[in-house]
């Protein structure tokens, strides 16, 4: 009995040590980023080096959050609104298109299922740079440049394969018999998807939502090419800190800290579903 409890204690200690290491590893650079955002350049280049700035200042945050007309603040808020709108919509559409696709791939063997796989994969493999210019030309002719629809369609197209594949994986893990049983009991296909598959794969869907949102939120290259004035997203606004002569690092740091908040908030909210106890024990024989 004693031996067992000592064993458990050692295990727990090791567990907590690892956890602390992981937390430190994850947060250390980010904490330094926060420190940078309340420093001045002088603090960053002073010798001997300090971890906490001598004269911490909130002026970077002030300018970004409360600036007036033509200032960074206005741009920043504008970019945030655009990013939110575009990211949420793209994620939503990717799910709407991807869930049925993943479902049919995992449940049916049909001619062309291979083609679907290849198609979706090809889309991911092609470096974005390749189609940037031809796509620009097409979008220009369709008058989709600098519009919300234009950018959302592109983002959805890029996120879609990922959604399909990930959900395919999760759906595969759910035995076919479950939804077959439901259909035999009188449920429609769509109903089966809603009542059986989605709840059981909730962790997967939650994870997918988080990632799609973050990918769209942080996407830079296409936002650069396809937005101009109306639909500037947050990463583009932040890139404005990159001037010919440098990068205004302290201001950029402040904007980075603020820009990370929505994705992390969404992650914190959704990760509850990942815990979801629905899955545990659901498949008990």
């Amino acid at each position: 009995m004693n031996f067992l409890s000592t064993m458990l204690n050692v295990k727990t200690i090791i567990k907590y040590v690892f956890i602390i290491v992981v937390i430190f590893w994850t947060l250390a650079p980010f904490i330094w980023l926060i420190v940078s955002s309340i420093s001045t350049k002088m603090d960053l280049t002073s010798f001997p080096p300090r971890w906490i700035p001598q004269n911490p200042t909130l002026e970077n945050y002030q300018e970004i959050l409360f600036g007036g007309k033509y200032s960074l603040g206005e741009l920043f808020r504008f970019g945030t609104m655009n990013s939110l709108l575009i990211s949420i919509t793209s994620t939503f559409f990717a799910l709407i298109l991807g869930i049925p696709t993943a479902y049919s791939l995992s449940r049916f063997k049909f001619r062309g299922s291979v083609m679907v796989f290849i198609t979706t994969l090809l889309t991911q493999i092609i470096p974005p740079i390749t189609i940037a210019i031809p796509l620009y030309m097409i979008w220009m002719n369709l008058q989709l440049l600098d519009t919300y629809q234009g950018l959302i369609s592109i983002y959805t197209a890029f996120i879609l394969p990922f959604v399909t594949w990930i959900l395919y994986g999760y759906f595969q893990a759910i035995p076919k018999e479950l939804d077959e049983a439901a259909i035999i009991d009188g449920c429609s296909r769509i109903g089966a998807i809603f009542r059986i598959i989605l709840p059981l794969s909730a962790p997967g869907i939650a994870a997918t939502v988080i990632f799609c949102f973050i990918v769209a939120w942080n996407e830079f290259f296409y936002a650069l090419i396809f937005t101009a004035v109306e639909t500037k997203t947050l990463p583009i606004v932040m890139a404005e800190f990159l001037t010919k002569h440098g990068s205004e690092y302290t201001k950029l740091a402040a904007s980075g800290v603020i820009a990370s908040i929505p994705p992390v908030a969404i992650a914190l909210i959704f990760q509850k579903y990942i815990i979801s106890g629905l899955v545990r024990g659901a498949l008990k024989a």
């Binding site: 567990k15 907590y16 994850t26 889309t123 470096p127 390749t130 959805t156 997967g204």
Partner: protein, 289 residues
């Protein structure tokens, strides 16, 4: 009637997705594929058909071959470390402990950081004189003198690997965690009753059931690793001495800076084929379920 409906159903479900992808992606793709066989002077709007010359020219370029090696190294190291590290973290986060939900959210912080900020941040962290990395290592006594981490081609590459690991490990970690969550606890209980130890439980229960998820994670991680751009652009500009010039970055230089669109397209297709090369074995295993 029902048989008929059943047959159409899958097509019905996948059609919107495919239609969307075709309209947005495939036409430009086709255009770029055909462009790769032309010498295109965007400036003079002239195009000359040259067959495979673009492809040949690339393989004769020593910098192309060098960037092949740089990319291979980068992808191999980052993917293997990130997936294994992610698995480890997922296992850890699967355990019960206080504050678990918060930690799970915090793991995503690096991934949530916009790449612009991430790039410039690491540029500062690695700086020879003012970098936090030097400060930290020096104060902990690991180094006796400040080092110019980005000053040597190979060291710079490894530093980029480190930065990438920091930023990207959350992705495999969270996905694997979700997969772990789907494994019913009951299975472990049965195994424990049968006398299996931790390693055996991991090897015979966890790993097989994670196969699907791991395969997907590896495929996507590999693809995205190949396409790493922002980190290279913001931290090292592909230098020093082309030491961190990955295939994608070099492609960018050719397509956008040098406006050699035909060559750039050919380059992209070479990259795509290479990625396919890596992905196909996984897909095969994955689809031959």
């Amino acid at each position: 009637m029902m048989m008929g409906i059943k047959k159409i159903y899958p097509y019905f479900l996948t059609f919107p997705c495919l239609f969307f992808l075709f309209s947005v992606i495939f036409f430009p793709l086709a255009f770029s594929f055909s462009s790769s066989f032309y010498n295109i002077f965007l400036i003079r709007r002239e195009t000359f058909f040259i067959g495979f010359d673009n492809y040949i020219q690339l393989f004769r370029d020593p910098y192309f071959l060098y960037s092949l090696w740089v990319t291979a190294y980068f992808v191999a190291v980052t993917v293997s470390i990130e997936v294994s590290l992610g698995l480890g973290i997922a296992l850890l986060l699967n355990e019960k402990f206080k504050g678990r939900s918060i930690v799970r959210g915090l793991i995503l912080v690096p991934w949530a950081l916009p790449s612009v900020v991430n790039g410039v941040m690491w540029k500062w962290i690695y700086h020879a004189q003012y970098g936090a990395f030097n400060h930290l290592l020096f104060q902990l006594g690991f180094i006796s003198k400040y080092i110019d981490w980005l000053g040597d081609p190979f060291t710079a590459l490894n530093m980029l690997v480190l930065a990438d690991i920091w930023k990207e490990t959350a992705f495999p970690a969270i996905l694997t965690l979700a997969g772990l969550q789907a494994i019913p606890y009951g299975l472990y209980e049965c195994a424990m009753i049968d006398g299996a130890n931790a390693w055996q439980r991991f090897r015979y229960i966890t790993l097989p059931l994670l196969k699907q998820i791991l395969a997907v994670v590896i495929i996507f991680k590999t693809i995205w690793s190949f396409e790493t751009f922002d980190l290279v652009y913001l931290v090292t500009r592909g230098g020093p001495s082309a030491g961190t010039r990955t295939l994608v970055y070099y492609n960018y230089l050719i397509t956008f800076r040098q406006s050699l669109f035909g060559l750039g397209s050919a380059f992209s297709w070479i990259i795509a084929i290479m990625i396919l090369f890596f992905a196909v074995p996984y897909i095969r295993r994955f689809m031959l379920r």
